[in-house]
């Protein structure tokens, strides 16, 4: 992880993530970005860039500027913007409803577009010289996200405080929490956890877990060890056949994430915040 005052850069494989301070004034951000990229000139030769702007939704020209600064100085493509869901709701810029098709560049076949994660904005790859088009694509995604948010209103991070369970959760114990649940120990066989949000187990999950218990299919289950396949996310139960096959073949232990894609539960090694799960849909915490 490289770090300047307001810009953090993390690289994983060929993918690079820029995290931009939420509070710094834009000209400072732009200055630091330029300075940083000048120093790193030629460091990256290929790969995609994700820009995370946190709580702040940049105005459209700022978004364009960040994109062009990064692209001209690094030679890489910015393929994604991230922001926190709260900033989708605020932000005073107008949205021009244009029928723009957005294709996730991670999914280059383009045939079946993955629905974007709630706070993920995919930028079309084919329009480097037309920032205006690129932005309108961004906006259509934002609008899409907003309308979806309004519909189910589910994906608010501030539902309730997370529940921390600090010792082994044992057989016969059960809990239903209206937010996220974090267990700082094992969840033993015969124990049951239901959370309206995510479930994170810093131990081995051997009991029953139900994330997104009130219907949120974006909820995930993360565990340091996931020997069991008895869990549920929203209304989906059991894991997808492909994952099941992979899982039984590889005895690979280690942190796992379970999430819903294409109406079934998938399990993948959990490698962190910017990891891609199932064709380019990252988990954002």
């Amino acid at each position: 992880m490289l770090k300047t005052g307001v810009v953090q850069v993390a690289a994983k494989g060929t993918d690079v993530a820029f995290v931009i301070d939420e509070e710094a004034p834009f000209d400072v951000v732009a200055g630091e970005l330029r300075e940083y990229l000048a120093k790193q000139n030629g460091l990256w030769s290929k790969g995609n860039i994700t820009v995370n702007v946190g709580q702040r939704m940049l105005a459209r020209d700022e978004l364009t500027q960040v994109k062009s600064i990064i692209e001209t100085h690094s030679g890489l493509k910015v393929t994604r913007f991230w922001c926190s869901p709260e900033s989708l709701g605020t932000g005073d810029f107008q949205i021009e409803a244009k029928a723009a098709t957005v294709e996730s560049s991670a999914n280059t076949s383009g045939a079946q577009r993955q629905p974007p994660a709630h706070n993920e904005i995919a930028v079309p790859e084919s329009l480097p010289d037309l920032p205006a088009d690129s932005i309108s694509a961004v906006e259509s995604v934002i609008q899409d996200l907003r309308s979806r948010q309004n519909k189910n209103g589910a994906r608010s991070r501030n539902r309730t405080e997370a529940l921390f369970i600090k010792s082994t959760f044992r057989s016969g114990e059960s809990v239903h929490h209206p937010g996220d649940v974090v267990v700082l120990a094992d969840v033993n066989p015969g124990a049951e956890i239901a959370a309206d949000g995510d479930i994170v187990v810093l131990g081995s999950l051997k009991g029953w877990a139900h994330a997104g218990a009130s219907g949120d299919t974006k909820a995930v289950i993360i565990a340091l060890e996931l020997p069991s396949t008895r869990f549920q996310i929203a209304k989906y139960e059991g894991i997808s056949p492909t994952t099941a096959r992979r899982k039984s073949k590889s005895s690979a232990s280690g942190p796992k994430i379970a999430y819903v894609r294409s109406r079934s539960i998938h399990v993948a090694p959990f490698v962190g915040r910017f990891a891609r799960y199932s064709k380019g849909v990252p988990y954002d915490g």
Binding site: S167, T168, S171, G172, L184, A185, D186, P189, G190, K206
Partner: protein
Amino acid sequence: MTGRTIVITSGKGGVGKTTATANIGTGLAMRGHKVIVIDTDIGLRNLDVIMGLENRIVYDLVNVIEGKCKMNQAMIRDKHDYELYLIPAAQTRDKNSIEPEQLRDLCAELEKEFDYVLIDCPAGIEQGFKNAIAAAQEAIIVTTPEVSAIRDADRVIGLLESSGLHRPRLIINRISPEMVKRGDMMDQKDVENLLAVEVIGLVPADENTVVAANRGIPVVHDRKSASGGAFLRIAARVDGEDIPLMDLEPKSGIFSKFRGLVGMNGRAYSHA
């Protein structure tokens, strides 16, 4: 003098609670303590049989609690020359004959007179279990290395914790080192990892235990037997002595030697 009241419990039946109570009680008495063991398995009493005191029973626990006799009239002194006493369970009554508070009061009384009050708990998690744990300040869980027994132990540990009995300690009984070696039995590490409590003793499956029980002389009197030695060490650990866990593997490898060195304090458990 204030003694310690310790409940020996398991959830599942037949795993060795009564055997452990008799042997730890005897072991503590052999170490010079004044000990009383109480059989709370009302309707299914057998602690008296294992200790060879069946013929001396006049009064029982329910009689004491109902005020039919004085406390010391129901205490039976052990045959051996130790300060070891038994209060037997009633055989013809049921578990609802006593209330948790009544047993708690009785034990509080006994703690004034004895160093250790050991409570042999009935199987299950119903009234008899609730009675037995109400009086104790400490708990020892007995399990065997079998999935069903471990599941019940896990349940019981949760119940103990929620009624304020934290950090129970664990005896893994009837371990067969040969079966463990063949991979046919869960090893101590697996059990310990799952239950996440301190292990206070590993007792091998040993026919001497059964022979001793039939004779009414707890196996701990035979210090050289595998299970007798194990129970004697458990009594010492209950008594506060820091004795590393003995490895029951037929031949000890590097790892088990290391475990031996680390002993019972080698793991930190979080009970935040």
